[in-house]
């Protein structure tokens, strides 16, 4: 039972990986906390979370095979 996490943009500076397979966690809140513990710099970084390409606004349960994306804002032009 696993989930896949994608990190985009400058988040990869913090995590050093753009993709990560993890044993399944109950929901997006626990996944976020788990990753913030592993990568403390995420705490002060802006990003939104999407599950299976749908942005989430509140905690959401995770199931085997879910793809979770962490997307930061870009400002360059």
């Amino acid at each position: 039972m696993t989930i896949t996490v994608y990190f985009f943009g400058s988040l990869v500076d913090i995590t050093s990986v753009s993709k990560k397979e993890l044993p399944i966690l109950m929901d997006t809140n626990s996944l976020n906390l788990h990753l913030q513990k592993e990568y403390p710099a995420l705490v002060n970084t802006k990003y939104f979370i999407a599950v299976n390409q749908q942005m989430i606004k509140a905690n959401r349960n995770l199931i085997h095979g879910d793809i979770v994306a962490f997307m930061p804002p870009f400002s360059g032009g």
Binding site: Y6, F8, G9, S10, D13, I14, P40, A41, V43, N44, T45, K46, F48, A50, Q53, Q54, M55, I56, K57, A69, M71, P72, P73, F74, S75, G76, G77
Partner: protein, 358 residues
């Protein structure tokens, strides 16, 4: 219509034709920012025959622009971007009328200028301009095409245009508040490969043409992410917030978009002063650049990247802290935070490592 031959190749497209071409000719589009995103967007809109285009940018052409702003030439360095762009576009297509605004967008001009156009292309390179355009378009109910790049990755979306679910999305649905200056490095600090804004700016032009003519499915309600290194796109459906943002003309005029205007009384020191100070035993030189940034330096006492500063604040010793970064912008914000939270004496190297190695 002036000359049908000019648009023949797009008019013979299925679902295009004369009616769509006339819509383009009657359209009014404002492009804010005449840089890496704005130049290609402008060129394709002028080529396509968008009748009235406003271009807004106060900047002058510099040598470091040319790797991505390929509309400009070496002989134009030092000249205003909007003037040079407009002159070239008039040569490309005399059907198009181009209005130039050699100014930065701000609270005093945004509403009156945007009101004159049907659609805005956000081709700016900083968060304060992006939030300002977002809010102004929200107030005036104008669709706008968002674009942004970071190193090898880009984002595009269409905001303020009703989605198939009957919602209107704006940038604050994605990120309600702007990151603090320095929190997310800009192009000058993070770097960008020249062809990437070319791709993203061209997609923004395509979205504008789709919105004006009504062909295809614009990216309203979707954030399109493009990774140049992987040659991969990733699309995310955006969820509208429960309630609309609290924004009207009065709030807009009073809102603080540009935190850089805040009084930050961090003393900035010159390279000369820095070279004297850094040798003193009571001075601690802190590099706040991210790990991947070059060049490496041998005169700092520690490196704590800006993205880790809050978590590692306690590591900073009880000394006078001299902060350096790439260009001397992030270091001011780092200095401000350190001074507030640790109550230490702080200095920022003016112009950063770039000035140091000049």
């Amino acid at each position: 219509m002036a000359d049908k031959d000019r648009y023949q190749r797009q008019m013979i497209l299925p679902s295009f034709g004369l009616a769509k071409q006339e819509k383009l000719l009657a359209a009014n589009v404002l492009i804010v920012g005449m840089g890496g995103l704005g130049c290609p967007a402008l060129q394709y809109l002028v080529g396509a025959g968008v009748g009235n285009i406003g271009i807004m940018d106060a900047d002058k052409i510099s040598l470091s622009n040319l790797h991505r702003q390929v509309l400009f030439t070496e002989s134009e360095i030092g000249l205003l971007k909007v003037n040079q762009a407009a002159a070239k576009m008039r040569l490309l297509n005399s059907d198009v009328s181009i209005e130039t605004y050699p100014i930065h967008i701000d609270q005093s001009n945004a509403l009156s200028i945007i009101a004159k156009y049907d659609l805005v292309i956000d081709a700016t390179d900083n968060f304060s301009a992006k939030y300002l355009i977002n809010d102004a378009c929200f107030i005036l109910n104008k669709p706008y095409v968002f674009g942004a790049v970071s190193r090898y990755e880009g984002q595009v979306s269409v905001f303020n245009l009703t989605t198939t679910k009957g919602k209107k999305i704006n940038y604050r649905d994605l990120f309600p508040e702007a990151p603090k200056p320095g929190e997310v490095p800009n192009c000058a600090e993070a770097g960008v490969i020249g062809v990437l804004p070319g791709i993203i700016g061209a997609i923004q032009a395509a979205e504008a043409i789709k919105i004006i003519t009504g062909i295809g499915n614009p990216l309203n309600g979707r954030l399109y992410h493009f990774n140049l290194l992987q040659g991969q796109g990733y699309e995310i459906e955006i969820s509208a917030s429960e309630k609309l943002i609290d924004m009207n003309e009065q709030i807009f005029q009073e809102y603080k978009y540009n935190e850089i205007d805040d009084e930050i009384d961090v003393p900035e020191i010159s390279v000369l002063e820095f070279n004297k100070m850094r040798l003193l035993p009571e001075v601690f030189v802190l590099d706040v650049r991210e790990w991947h940034e070059y060049p490496q330096i041998d005169f700092s006492n520690a490196q704590i990247p800006m993205s880790e500063l809050q978590a590692r604040m306690f590591e900073i010793p009880e000394k006078e802290i001299c902060i350096v970064c790439h260009q001397g912008i992030r270091s001011i914000y780092a200095a401000e935070q350190i001074s507030k939270q640790r109550n230490l004496k702080v200095y920022s190297l003016k112009g950063g490592i770039t000035a140091y190695f000049k």
